[in-house]
Symmetry: D2
């Protein structure tokens, strides 16, 4: 089969022919129908310091996918062969204290698809059956594929109540965009959002943001202060990892406010705990991955309720063979979510 | 001024002329613009056992209102004279452990408007300034008036997360109807609702219910079981006080589910703790009044977000002088919320 | 090997010779060193209605045990052969929504040792490896064996904060006794407890109760009212299943109080939701089993902290062959926890 | 009366004669029996940058006290004249959203005794009646006086469950010492603590610490790693404000762990959000003051339960007139809590 692989440490990757993966007693073999690109894939392609520390080569890249179960190991009773599934990308150990107490997303032995084991940018992928979540029949392939990433947004926006409250989302990349949608679907009084890209701020408006602000042009603090009668926001969802956004976000947070942080800074930053957290009596939640399986259940419910429409997030589609175009566009930032299809004929037609 | 008063213990009440109320150092005097009728008002009119135990006569009835601040006591710094306000009906002591820990709705010394002290079915009412919440300028009078009652719905629907979850609301009277709206605004996967009145079930559909069921006609348990793939609901909001509804509601509740109970049964009922609560590991929340001031802040946010439209709940309007018609209609059950206006000219025009 | 078995539906059971159990790929085979008797075992022996509905005969009885791992299936990597372990009695499916979200104690496919599959009153028992928790080396066998039961107490007493608060424990059987100890170890301001047996109330005092009350003799409501300056208790742990205790317990509960209910009533009871739950704004938690594995981690920490001494709960020890004496004593109620030992020599020596 | 006052901006303070304070309609006038010194008092004496920004001169210093109600304003119904009371030092507005929702400790209009209004190092002080909490009759004056400070410890140690869990307290000043005691009283599995002062680490051992570590001498990370089988701690209470302690503390925190931060750093510090909070899925709580009145109720319960003995924290007593000796000792760090007595005869006798 064809697979997009990082063959050795260092920048770059290539499309190669490899055997269809073997699968274990507890695994399913999935024929991949769609796979979406994550910012992490770009970092792995470019071989940033995190990748150099974590990626085990050679490896097939990619960790967001949807596909059809074609084979399953002897111990597997669900899902059925022929079932359309989407995939949790964290393969967890099931036996550590975290896995056994509903905190599997913190399992210290986690293996990630496309990082520690062969991933999804290929015609087939093998994953543990417990990582394959059956998709509802009405779900579009492009939406199904990005659920893994949507789960980050749901995990973030469900750590606290937002109904009737004012929310600031710093960073309007794909996860930020989806977080806006979740906050609105949960009854937020208002959602303010920031990004340095006007392209993304336009998408943010489409996703339901009440106010979009570009810190390169706008007086973010002044405008949010006006919008909140100088009171600040109740909730901060920090999705950017940018030190300036973190600083602005906490400055806008009310006494007693809550902040969920998902964006990675990639390095130490300067931070004022006194004013930002202690005097404010603020609460801060670190967000990684998705709660397994809690978040999957919640995101399915949110999508199926009709309260969330993710289709505007999918801005481009490509055949997997056109991966170079897809990665170049991804690098430009002039896009929302990009979905690739191993079968080129699926890349046509209406978006999502 | 005119006031609708219960003059002595026993059924009945009458419109009489009384002096404009005196107000204390910490009070505001409000000119009443609109007041809505609550089921409790009907019970007081009919002098049910609860009324006989609690109502202190003579008393001006009514506890849901909106109006304009016309005078204020010497200690009052807010709200301003001329401000449109709506009113929390529970006058609390401010000094007990509950009042001092954000649990004022449980204050043992609470006095209720229209029960322990003169209420709102009149041209003027005096209340502590802290009970008067400024209304946003865009809010219709009829909506403003029923906020006290809406607060019951918000209090109920905010004790637990509903986003992405399946919810059953048993009882579709006004508070049930508003609870449906809150659950939908907070992203519920689906809201199922029951009532013995088809009139109310139609209103429930308007408020966003996904499924409306009349236990006199429908196989409630069977239909909900089908709708939930035999899994049952995640959340029960019990608004009816009817033993049969309580029984059905808990039977439909999932293991690990949560139930918030607001409807009063008026007497002991038979209940199976083993199957309904213990084996299920269920959690049950008793709901009384509104959290002061937490719920008022939340409901304001929910209304102003645009996520909730309460106007369908207001089905009829009357001049206060037509109170007999209003109470007769209320007794018939063929209504949602009825709003009365001391100034008859305000009772005309479009509903809400 | 010898095993105490219920051979067919109906009262009674007998000691028989059976083969050592077979074990599966994911199982461990445990040589039983100690097993404690639970109230449920007595009900099964007597064949009460619950037993008639649930017990699958023939079956080896018993579900509380400690022992040494002697063999393990091919898939098992932990615990080691030779390891002393105690056992979670609920065998869960690992694949349902509850198991996958840290709510395994609510798994609808749960099988109980001694009820649905062969249990612990025998020389050997086979259980899934994930049900076998390694014991700390300093733990006495009799304490180790009753941990399953202790977990009920820990599960109950950890649903809410008790530090600095007044707690009422209704029912002072073994689980009630251990709940007293947990509440005290967690810093409760005072623990009041009730039982109809003076024998058990004396044990309650040993476990740290501040006040013990026998409703057959004492004015429970009056004494607790005095002890709490008429304020009532903050927390109720209902461990008796007795309707009168439930009624008293809720009557003593403060507005805003919390109740955790574990005792089974065995039938519907009359209950006043208005006064007990709704007007009080009370919260009620149904408690079943132990949170898997959350509660096991918590109870290990509590025991190892030295804050809890369970040894007074173990009042009697017998050789397993003396099971008739043990069951007779258990039926008399003049005991705390009874521990049996397949090896008679272990039944001697100091208690615990 | 005599009062220790900061007469103008800048270092220093002096004992002067001033009139007994006037008191308002809602106030009580308290004859001060004991007042304890806080680290903040030292900063105010030395006029650090925070003091220069916040202290309004001239002002009587001091904010921890116990005394007897001698007069009360016309609106005050409790506490009684003659009642022994201790005092919450934050005078809050009662009308803002925070005050009205049980979050008064975050009131933006808070005035502090000894900072914004006349404080406690004097023979008399006037405070709002709601700030005066009646003391139980058995409580020693020196313990009563330091309750305000103890409330910081209780606020910190009640934001999360510690029962059965491993806790690290960084910083063993008076609040750290009392936090150790609360964690132990709530059933912590083990409490590890750090400080650069061996004197304080000895006190920490007396307060119940399981392990005391001096980062100037000990390999803190290595020893805690050993003590936790390389797992780290479940809970971090950061009481030092020292950047190195914050770094070590978070490094020792388990995935899924919780940190409560009270120590002020006084400036921005470098911090790694990725490794410390995000990848760990950690939760961080900022702690300021005491929850009013929630924390006062909790601390009273904890003290009265007998689970906490604060007397070792009080290491020295002085007559108020010997304030220079007291402040010099405080500056040396060779002390726990120092209590001063306006009546010199009370400074004698056994400590606490």
């Amino acid at each position: 089969m064809r697979a997009l692989r990082k063959l050795s440490p260092g920048p770059g990757f290539e499309m190669v022919e490899v055997p269809i993966p073997e699968y274990g007693l507890d695994d399913v073999l999935i024929e991949v129908l769609a796979n979406s690109i994550c910012g992490t894939d770009l970092h792995i392609a470019d071989w940033d310091p995190w990748s150099a520390d974590h990626v085990v080569t050679p490896v097939t890249m990619g960790h967001e996918l949807t596909g059809i179960v074609r084979e399953r190991g002897a111990n597997v009773s669900a899902p059925e062969i022929g079932q359309l599934v989407s995939v949790e990308s964290h393969v967890i150990c099931n036996v550590c204290d975290w896995c056994r107490t509903g905190q599997g997303h913190l399992c210290p032995s986690t293996e990630l698809l496309g990082v520690h084991r062969d991933g999804a940018f290929a015609e087939y992928v093998a994953v543990p059956a417990q990582n394959a979540y059956p998709d509802p029949p009405e779900m579009a392939l492009s939406i199904a594929s990005l659920q893994e990433n949507f789960g980050n947004a749901v995990h973030t926006a469900t750590v606290t109540e937002v109904a009737g409250r004012k929310v600031l989302v710093t960073g309007s990349g794909p996860v930020g965009l989806m977080t806006i949608a979740v906050a609105k679907a949960k009854g937020a009084r208002a959602v303010y959002t920031t990004d340095v890209s006007d392209y993304r701020l336009e998408l943010a408006m489409t996703m339901g943001a009440d106010l979009t602000l570009n810190p390169m042009k706008d007086d973010v603090a002044g405008i949010i202060s006006d919008a909140t009668d100088a009171g600040g926001v109740d909730v901060l969802f920090e999705m950017s990892g940018a030190p300036a956004a973190i600083e602005t976000g906490f400055a806008m947070l009310k006494p007693g406010g809550e902040a969920a942080m998902l964006g990675l800074t990639g390095k130490k930053i300067e931070f004022d705990f006194d004013d930002n957290i202690i005097f404010k009596g603020a609460t801060v939640y670190g967000i990684v991955g998705r709660r397994i399986s809690q978040t999957w259940l919640e995101m399915r419910g949110l999508i199926r309720s009709g309260a969330i429409d993710l289709s505007p997030v999918v801005t481009h589609r490509f055949a997997l063979d056109d991966y170079e175009k897809a990665f170049d566009l991804m690098a430009s930032g002039q896009c929302g979510k990009i979905v690739m299809f191993p079968d080129p004929s699926l890349a046509d037609g209406p978006l999502s």
